[in-house]
């Protein structure tokens, strides 16, 4: 009686780990998310995890006050389908998909991730993003 329960518990733990791994996927991406989680927790002690729904709202927009009037949302260049390629609003340059399912390298280089947030949060929102917004955004796209 004891053994099957233990096995079941072990299976559940394995499953849980599998789900967490699927969300974060790459260990580098998990580290980046952990960093943003720690920053968020420091600011709001009641923080209980990132929200893919909030990340989706941030991605889609529309937002007001961005530096670039033509891009009221991330979707302005990256399109409403993050699994497809994007297109720079002015130059027409192709952009690789944002969704991790279509582009597994997304959000695995911390310097690159910070560079893009620093730049494009200003372009789209007119301000820097918070750590929570960054985490929500990555969580949304890691599940797309």
């Amino acid at each position: 009686m004891k053994k099957p329960t233990l096995l079941l518990a072990a299976a559940l733990v394995a499953l849980g780990a599998g789900v967490a791994l699927a969300a974060a996927g790459d260990p580098e991406r998990a580290r980046i998310l952990d960093g943003y989680a720690a920053q968020t927790k420091a600011q709001s002690p009641d923080f209980a995890g990132f929200s893919a729904a909030s990340g989706r709202a941030l991605y889609m927009g529309p937002h007001a006050g961005g530096k670039v009037a033509e891009t009221p949302g991330c979707a302005s260049c990256h399109t409403a389908n993050p699994a497809g390629p994007g297109r720079h609003y002015k130059t027409g340059r192709d952009i690789l998909p944002m969704a991790v399912s279509a582009n597994p390298k997304r959000f695995t280089d911390p310097a690159e991730v910070e560079k893009r947030f620093e730049r494009d949060c200003v372009n789209v929102l007119g301000r820097a993003c918070t750590a929570r917004e960054k985490g929500d955004f990555i969580t949304f796209l890691a599940n797309q």
Binding site: K67, V68, K90, T91, V122
Partner: protein, 141 residues
């Protein structure tokens, strides 16, 4: 000595201008960071297409790069600036748009309706017409 330096400088300027318009080829981008960072949003324009002072103005103003924030980490920006200015061409150093340089306008003196064609989109899209522009070859127009 001064005269000699002046003459050499004048020759260099002439050579730079000739490179950009008569032979229609410029040395390709060979610097990885320039290729990557500039090439993310547009074709990485060859350093020979602008004079050093134009490149310096561009690198000074990345937080407002033609209306967009294109800022880079300081070290990355420094190596790119160094590459661009060391390999710069000639032209009017007050202008930061390649498309405002006199040699460029002379070469593109045709019906402006072409710029709004869907396949072109903008003057900055060299590759719409010059298929090998990214390699510095502009002779296929």
């Amino acid at each position: 000595m001064r005269i000699l330096i002046g003459a050499v400088a004048a020759l260099a300027v002439t050579a730079g201008a000739a490179l950009a318009n008569e032979f229609e080829r410029v040395p390709p981008v060979t610097h990885a960071a320039t290729q990557k960072e500039c090439g993310e949003c547009h074709m990485a324009y060859q350093p020979g297409l602008l004079p050093a002072s134009s490149w310096n103005r561009i690198m000074d103003g990345l937080s407002d790069h033609f209306g967009e924030n294109a800022s880079l980490p300081a070290e990355t920006a420094a190596t790119i600036r160094n590459y661009l200015t060391q390999n710069a061409g000639s032209g009017d150093g007050r202008l930061i748009r390649i498309t405002e340089q006199r040699w460029w306008q002379r070469k593109h003196d045709f019906d402006p309706a072409i710029w709004t064609r869907k396949t072109v989109g903008a003057k900055s899209n060299c590759e719409a017409c010059h298929r090998t522009a990214a390699r510095g070859l502009y002779e296929d127009d």
